[in-house]
Amino acid sequence: MNLSYKIATYVSLVLMSGLALVFYFTSSELATLQPNQPISPATFPRLVSILLVITCIISFFTTMKKENEEVDLVNFHFVIYTLLALILFIMVWQLAGYFYPLSFVFLTVLLYIYSDQENNVKKLLKSMLISLIVVLLTYLVFGMLLGVIF
């Protein structure tokens, strides 16, 4: 999958300017705190927000002058699969718990999707074995040794 460098840059600059404006306007309540001080909790974020918008505008023009090129998103479908798996993993972990069995499934799914082996049964068994070893090691190192409660 390819992405236009210029268009992607413009989109990112608009998003960043938007973020800067959100920070600028939400800091209005903070500006009234400490009225006797020469600098309020809003001053620094406001200054940075304004500078960010100005630099985004400058970057917009410098990008316009550049020649367009394609940003190569190699194997982007794998990035999407990974993100979907990641979102599901974190969501189920947060809502239901069961960290260790869930981790086993998460790792097995990713290893299975990523593997280039043709035999599906072998691929599944191999993925399950690696996942089991990693989860066991996690339990020993983080759960037992470091006392992390998942």
């Binding site: 800091s27 400490q34 620094f44 970057s59 940003v71 190699v74 280039d116 690696i130 006392g147 992390v148």
Partner: protein
């Protein structure tokens, strides 16, 4: 402050020795894997330090840093794929020498030079840090504000090919750093009602997300890549005569690396290139470079290990990290409840001297372990990316969770990883963003204190001796950056005209 007055038994505890050993082994492994550098390595092992004593925790991380820089040369030499960006210069002569049938010799030059670089880096660290810290004790808020700003200017100017995007990265980092409770008034800033954001965005989540998770997403692009390694003649050994033939470039490279490492924004990558160029310039046979010249391996390898010691100087003396790797180490200090800087030299000298000596010891440990295990790492390079990527992703998630045992941080890391993936693709500067995020609170706090104490009078920056010196350096650097950028533009235009 006397290094000989330190309690050496602090260093020779099982925990410290184990930390150096584990850090070295892990650093060699992570450095050898193509694409994963010292920063990702340090970020991934950070959770292991949470329950450790401060000295052993820091020693573990600096040992990883040291060993990963050498480890990067293993894949450069054996595969022709640099393990770390700093090992790219090593590839130019390392690979041809390996292809002549002597990869062990090439690795032997690399490990010897790396060890010498590590030792000289440690000595420079010891020599520069104490006098610098005694000056830094006299610094007040105006100086810390200016120093942190200077660090950001340097990083922004040097870390990206697109200056406006680098500046945007800095500003974005500064903005993210303002989230959380305001230290002066206790007001919640930009938390949007979230309790998890009251303490600000977790530094560990941002670091691991931006460096480890984004790297995993990048690795997915080369998922099916399988490396084939040379398995013969991997025994790393060179004779005394061979070592003597590269001694001069090794020493020179070590000093170049150590001093370049001190400057924020440069670090091991540029240090190794400067050193390689200098070795080639000074050589009687420059035509041999690129064809397996041993000096072309020793010089950059000494420099990238020397740079590690140099990079720790601003962190220990001023509490200001100059590179992403030292930013993660700063994170480890903060997790341990220690704010590095000149005051630690007085409050906890044993910790500082322990780091000095432990770091020096790590260079020797790296030499001996590296000498006998390099062939093992070289063989492990055949581990396919499709096995490695999910494991790294999983460890990264656990690391983030373990820092505060909060799933909210895991969400932050995942989002940071995705955002960093696109930012990197579009030439924004991640090191600038991270350093600004870390330095932001220091900059804001010192600026607010300065202005409050001076009653809003900004001339306070011009009436203090050290402030004036830092301002002058800042001005000179900005002029130098603008002139270099103009020269590059003119050169590019001339080339286009031709």
């Amino acid at each position: 402050m006397d290094i000989f007055g330190m309690d050496f038994s602090v260093l020779f505890t099982w925990e410290c020795l184990f930390a150096i050993l584990l850090g070295t082994l892990y650093g060699l492994f992570i450095g050898a894997l193509p694409g994963l550098g010292a920063t990702v390595g340090i970020a991934l092992i950070l959770p292991v330090t949470y329950t450790m004593e401060p000295l052993s925790a820091i020693l573990l991380l600096v040992s990883v840093y040291q060993a990963a820089e050498y480890g990067g040369s293993i894949s450069s030499i054996v595969l022709g794929v640099p393990g770390t960006p700093a090992a790219t210069a090593t590839l130019l002569d390392g690979l041809p020498l390996a292809r002549k049938g002597t990869p062990g010799k090439a690795l032997g030059y690399s490990i010897s030079a790396s060890a010498v670089g590590g030792v000289i880096g440690a000595l420079i660290l010891m020599t520069l840090t104490i006098p610098l810290a005694s000056i830094a004790v006299q610094f007040g808020d105006p100086e810390f504000f200016l120093l942190a700003t200077l660090g950001l200017i340097l990083v922004a100017g040097l870390s990206s090919k697109d200056l406006p995007k680098s500046v945007i990265s800095v500003l974005l980092g500064l903005l993210l750093g303002t989230i959380g409770l305001d230290g002066f008034t206790g007001a919640a800033r930009f938390t949007f009602g979230s309790l998890s954001l009251l303490e600000g965005i977790s530094m560990v989540a941002i670091l691991i997300g931006m460096f480890a998770i984004s790297e995993v997403l990048f690795m997915l692009g080369e998922l099916r890549k399988r490396y084939v390694t040379e398995k013969k003649n991997l025994k790393t050994s060179i004779t005394w005569k061979e070592f003597k033939s590269v001694f001069k470039s090794t020493i020179k490279g070590s000093f170049i690396g150590s001093f370049v490492g001190v400057l924020p924004g440069l670090g091991a990558g540029p240090a190794s290139w400067f050193s390689y160029t200098e070795a080639k310039r000074a050589s009687k046979n420059p035509e041999n470079f690129g064809k397996g010249e041993p000096n072309g391996i020793a010089a950059p390898e000494a420099a990238n290990n020397g740079a590690v010691g140099g990079a720790l100087v601003p962190l220990l003396t001023l509490g200001i990290p100059g590179s992403p790797a030292t930013a993660v180490i700063l994170g480890a200090f903060l997790i341990q409840g220690i704010q590095p800087g000149p005051k630690v030299f007085e409050s906890d000298p044993d910790l500082i001297y322990g780091i000095f000596l432990g770091f020096l010891a790590a260079a020797f440990v790296m030499y001996f372990i590296g000498k006998y295990t390099t062939s093992l790492w070289a063989r492990m390079l055949t581990m396919p990316n499709f096995v490695l990527t999910p494991i790294i992703l999983f460890i990264a998630l656990i690391g983030v969770y373990a820092s505060h045992m909060n799933i909210f941080d895991v969400w932050i890391a995942a989002i940071a990883g995705l955002v960093a993936y696109f930012l990197k693709k579009l030439d924004f500067s991640l090191p600038s963003l991270i350093l600004a995020f870390i330095l932001g609170p220091i900059i804001e706090t010192s600026l607010r204190r300065t202005i409050s104490l001076s009653g809003g009078d900004l001339t306070v920056f011009l009436t203090r001796q050290y402030s004036l010196i830092i301002l002058a350096i800042m001005l000179l650097l900005i002029i130098a950056m603008i002139s270099t950028s103009k020269k590059q533009k003119n050169r590019a235009e001339n080339l286009n005209l031709k």
